[in-house]
């Protein structure tokens, strides 16, 4: 007679390796590593995108500061400078930044309508150029000289290079962090796989002695660790996605100030990183577990 709680019918096949409660801490550790890896990946993407945005916006513009003497006709010089610059091939637009516009640009520092009337404001010409036309600051400076307007022309090259250098460094750091996290995850998984192997050594020995090939036994561990990796990766990706979304929400700015902070909207690349995380974590877990288990199996007869 079947005893209470037992089934008389033929049971369905269960997993050959027993489930271990000790898998739970591993999933947590891996999920944290995946979370940090996703943040590093998304951070690298944001740093790169923001640097591109900054440099792109600078590449298409120059600023000429007209050098005026106290008694000179600064308005006339500015007008002549704008006309001379605007006449150059490759220049899309050249316009004088008048006092009202300068006051608006300085608003974040002085406050609205607080620019003192007696404060001298530099005479500036905003020049929009076609980046493909190859107009240099020297060309613009020479054109202004020809109409008798001395000016200092800034093509933002130094600022642009600084931004590019910092962005490149941030990106390299993010990839470095990513590599370190992947190595840490791999080491943690290898350690866990070996511990899992030893915890289930009795099962492995029975399988080995009844004729299971090493590949078969390793495949059992691979399946288990693939599942652990995918679950941990998914958990980490969800946490990272939530964090990036929160960051994007906090950092969003009106269009006028959007250049100041990185605009961390979740892009298709970020989605790809977040979606790839469970697959990559599963793959790393699976291959690392296989290597660890095959190495341990080779020690058996």
């Amino acid at each position: 007679m079947a005893r209470r709680g037992e089934r008389r019918r033929v049971p369905r096949g269960t997993a050959i390796l027993p489930r271990e409660q000790r898998d739970a801490p591993l999933i947590v550790v891996m999920a944290i590593l995946c979370f940090l890896a996703c943040l590093a990946g998304v951070g690298a993407r944001i740093a790169y995108a923001q640097a591109e945005r900054w440099t792109d916006s600078l590449k298409g513009s120059m600023t000429a500061r007209v050098i005026t003497a106290p008694a000179s006709d600064s308005a006339g010089m500015a007008r002549r400078a704008a006309e001379a610059a605007g006449a150059l091939a490759g220049v899309i637009d050249a316009r004088v930044i008048d006092r009202q516009e300068a006051a608006r640009l300085l608003e974040p520092w002085f406050g609205a309508g607080a620019l003192p009337d007696d404060l001298p404001v530099p005479v500036l010409i905003a020049i929009d150029i076609d980046p493909a036309a190859g107009v240099s600051a020297q060309d613009v400076g020479a054109a202004l000289e020809r109409v008798g307007v001395p000016a200092v022309v800034d093509d933002h090259a130094r600022w642009s290079q600084d931004v590019r250098r910092v962005a490149d460094l941030a990106r390299a750091l993010a990839f470095g962090v990513l590599a370190l996290l992947a190595a840490a995850a791999g080491a943690a998984i290898a350690f866990a796989a070996r511990a899992g192997f030893h915890a289930r050594r009795d099962v492995v020995e029975v399988l080995h002695l009844i004729g299971a090939r090493d590949d078969f036994i390793a495949a059992e561990f691979e399946r288990r660790f693939l599942a652990i990796g995918v679950r941990a990766g998914a958990l980490g990706a969800v946490m990272a996605g939530g964090s990036v979304y929160a960051l994007a929400y906090a950092a969003r700015q009106p269009e006028a100030r959007a250049w100041l902070l990185p605009q961390a909207a979740i892009s298709p690349v970020d989605w790809a990183i977040l979606l790839a995380a469970p697959l990559l974590a599963g793959l790393v877990a699976m291959t690392t577990a296989r290597a660890a288990v095959m190495s341990a199996l080779r020690k058996l007869a």
Partner: protein, 248 residues
């Protein structure tokens, strides 16, 4: 408990081995040991042990506790390789065989371990089906055979039970069912009656005799000297790490 040695399954006894021993031509020995030594550290477990086991034979391996019976069996069922000497199983030198070959040889051997070695998290059905599962057979291909085998050993009602809930005798029968389910050419049993009462021990021995009668080569290690002489079969005695023919 039903007398498992006298009750045939509905579709006949499991067809273990190709043909009954009496009809089988005597060829290469299934097992050959030549001048085998085995040491655990400095302590010798076997020294200069030699024997041959012909296909279809029933062999009792006797000897005092610690005489090296389990070590000899571990060499035969390929759990270990010898420190010295030749161990040949199914004509293959096990010291030189590559791992995939050893796995293939192990599939031709059914082992009844002294401590059963059942997997506690699996049901009786899954434990018995394990050798078929590792061969890659689909459940539908072996379900009927496993159920029938469990009926044969009188465990049809415990098919969904897990080993911790089984008695010693039930565990022993599950271990035997697992050892024979893949129809191995060689069955090796280490002290199969060591954990059961004398009545159950006698029944199990009758089962092994029956398995041998239908074609399997059976090697049984036992320290119970009274079991072997009561039935047909060859008796080997282990003494001081050497194999001696007869019960002495």
């Amino acid at each position: 408990m039903p007398d498992i040695s006298e009750r045939a399954p509905a579709r006949g006894w499991p067809q273990i081995g190709a043909v009954p021993a009496a009809e089988r031509p005597m060829g290469e020995p299934i097992v050959r040991l030549s001048k085998v030594a085995m040491r655990y550290g400095e302590a010798p477990a076997l020294r200069d042990a030699s024997l041959t086991i012909a296909p279809g034979s029933l062999v009792f391996l006797t000897g005092a506790s610690g005489a090296g019976k389990s070590t000899l069996l571990r060499l035969i069922y390929l759990a270990q390789r010898p420190s010295e000497g030749l161990v040949s199983v199914f004509g293959i030198d096990t010291a030189r065989a590559r791992r995939p070959m050893l796995a293939r040889l192990r599939r031709r051997i059914g082992v009844v371990f002294q401590d059963f070695r059942l997997l506690d998290h699996l049901t009786v059905f899954d434990n018995v089906a394990l050798p078929l599962r590792i061969q890659g057979l689909a459940p539908r291909a072996y379900r009927q055979d496993v159920v029938e085998l469990l009926e044969w050993v009188g465990l049809a009602d415990r098919i969904g039970a897990r080993p911790p809930t089984l008695s010693g005798g039930e565990k022993q029968r599950v271990a035997i069912a697992r050892a024979v389910v893949a129809k191995p050419d060689l069955i090796v049993a280490d002290e199969p009656t060591g954990n059961v009462d004398p009545d159950m021990g006698e029944r199990l021995m009758r089962l092994f005799t029956e398995l041998n009668r239908v074609g399997a080569t059976v090697v049984i290690a036992t320290h119970d000297h009274s079991l072997a002489p009561r039935r047909q079969g060859r008796i080997l005695r282990l003494q001081d790490g050497c194999v001696i023919e007869g019960d002495g």
